[in-house]
């Protein structure tokens, strides 16, 4: 067994330390070590986006990022969007518009969508380009776009 290392990072607002093997992916640290299984693994190769989380506010594919390289940084997952029991506007909108079907891409779609809105990217064409790393096989994306529109207006 390889030696273990210690990693400190903030997950959903709470500073935590983990002892892990050096090759641990951020995705596995979040799911297995931190027990936050909302973030999904759909391909492990950075192509499907199901594992998208926010690293210091920007979306990243957590399956391609080593946990060790996130030392000292802030991670937000789909669980961390719920504040005082209230879901984020994007979560509400996804549910309201029918943007959720099988749900497996949903956490990643939501994380990228939150980043889109926080960066004021509200043009539909540009949203389509920026969401292209979050594959969805169920919805045809139409209702996801609708959710972005709804969340964009409720967010302001």
């Amino acid at each position: 067994m390889p030696e273990t290392i210690i990693i400190h990072l903030t997950i959903n607002g709470t500073g935590r330390s983990f002892r892990t093997p050096p090759g641990r992916r951020l995705l596995d640290l979040i799911r297995d070590d931190a027990g936050q299984t909302g973030t999904k693994e759909g391909c492990g190769a950075g192509e499907c986006g199901a594992c998208t989380v926010l690293l210091d506010g920007l979306p990243i594919p957590s399956c391609l990022v080593l946990a060790a390289s996130c030392e000292g940084h802030e991670i937000t997952t789909v669980e961390g969007l719920v504040h005082d029991g209230s879901p984020h506007a994007v979560q509400e909108a996804m549910v309201e518009t029918g943007g959720v079907q099988c749900g497996f891409c949903t956490p990643g779609v939501i994380m990228t969508s939150v980043a889109l809105l926080e960066n004021s990217i509200d043009d539909r064409e540009e949203q389509g380009r920026r969401l292209a790393g979050n594959l969805c096989r169920c919805t045809g994306y139409e209702k996801i776009f609708h959710a972005l529109e709804v969340a964009g207006t409720t967010d302001d």
């Binding site: 391609l64 920026r130 292209a132």
Partner: protein, 285 residues
């Protein structure tokens, strides 16, 4: 699943990283990790001793004399949105916005995109066209490598053992009148290039091309300049005849192969089409 990593060294400064890598050049440097992780997952570099550069690479994009210096750790997202770069080298910004999808762009670094030396690396053609310098850091300090000399083959670069990419320097004293990047795949986003192209042109008041640079990706063992295209453009205006000569000339500059993404013949057709369209756009600009 954990990647097969024996150990990871996390230096606190870039100098520490350089010193450690000089001592132990068998380490595998990793920055954003978006490309290396995919290769490791496929079984490459098993049992690697990683050198984690993610926190220590220079990351700023700043003017420095006649250059803009881009830290090797600058992400694609930062480059795509960089105001200074947009004004002097829009092609690089366009390319950065086409590397993977947005979450990849928020993590992938310019240094990583170059060091991996994929023939399809999207930032390579604009940097080749801009006569960029890759600044390598090693035991003896910094050394400049011409972008054109940087790529040695698929996955191969000309960094010496123990050298890391420190930054990329773009000469900006004489910005081109036209600078573009385009790529082609079966989809528009989140796609590995089947062919990519960047062209920069200097045009004088009479509309004559005084300086031309072109480079392509995914049509040879490395991203490469297109000297034949450049030669037929310089000294001419961008009239249909000149464009047509460039379209023919590009075939001399490429050696595409059949692979899983496209047949060689298609890449030839695509290179011709992309060169023609980009020059037509330039002629109207």
């Amino acid at each position: 699943m954990d990647l097969s990593v024996k150990d990871i060294y996390r230096p606190l400064t870039f100098d520490e990283a350089v010193a450690a890598f000089s001592d132990e050049p068998s380490m595998l440097p990793i920055a954003g990790g978006t490309d290396i992780s995919v290769q490791m997952r496929a079984g490459k570099f098993a049992g690697a001793h990683l050198l984690d550069l993610s926190g220590v690479l220079p990351r700023s994009i700043s003017a420095d004399g006649g250059f803009i210096e881009i830290g090797a750790g600058a992400t694609m997202d930062e480059i795509a949105d960089s105001g200074p770069l947009r004004s002097v080298c829009p092609a690089l910004c366009q390319a950065a916005r086409k590397v993977g999808a947005w979450p990849i762009q928020c993590r992938a670094t310019l240094g990583g995109n170059l060091a991996n030396a994929s023939p399809a690396a999207d930032t390579a053609p604009p940097l080749l066209v801009a006569d960029a310098l890759v600044v390598a850091a090693g035991q003896g300090g910094l050394r400049n490598i011409e972008a054109e000399d940087f790529f040695a083959g698929p996955g191969e670069n000309t960094l010496k053992p123990g050298e890391l990419i420190h930054s990329i320097r773009l000469p900006v004293t004489d910005p081109p009148s036209f600078s573009r990047f385009t790529k082609l795949g079966w989809q528009r986003e989140q796609i590995i290039s089947v062919v990519s192209l960047s062209i920069s042109l200097h045009l004088n008041d009479q509309g004559l091309v005084t300086k031309a640079a072109a480079a392509l990706g995914a049509v040879a063992a490395t991203p490469k300049r297109a000297p034949s295209v450049e030669a037929v453009l310089v000294g001419h205006s961008l009239d249909p005849a000149a464009i047509s000569r460039a379209v023919e000339a590009v075939q001399n500059d490429i050696t595409p192969i059949d692979d899983i993404r496209a047949p060689a013949w298609y890449r030839r057709v695509a290179a011709a089409t992309l060169v023609e369209r980009m020059l037509e756009e330039a002629s109207g600009a």
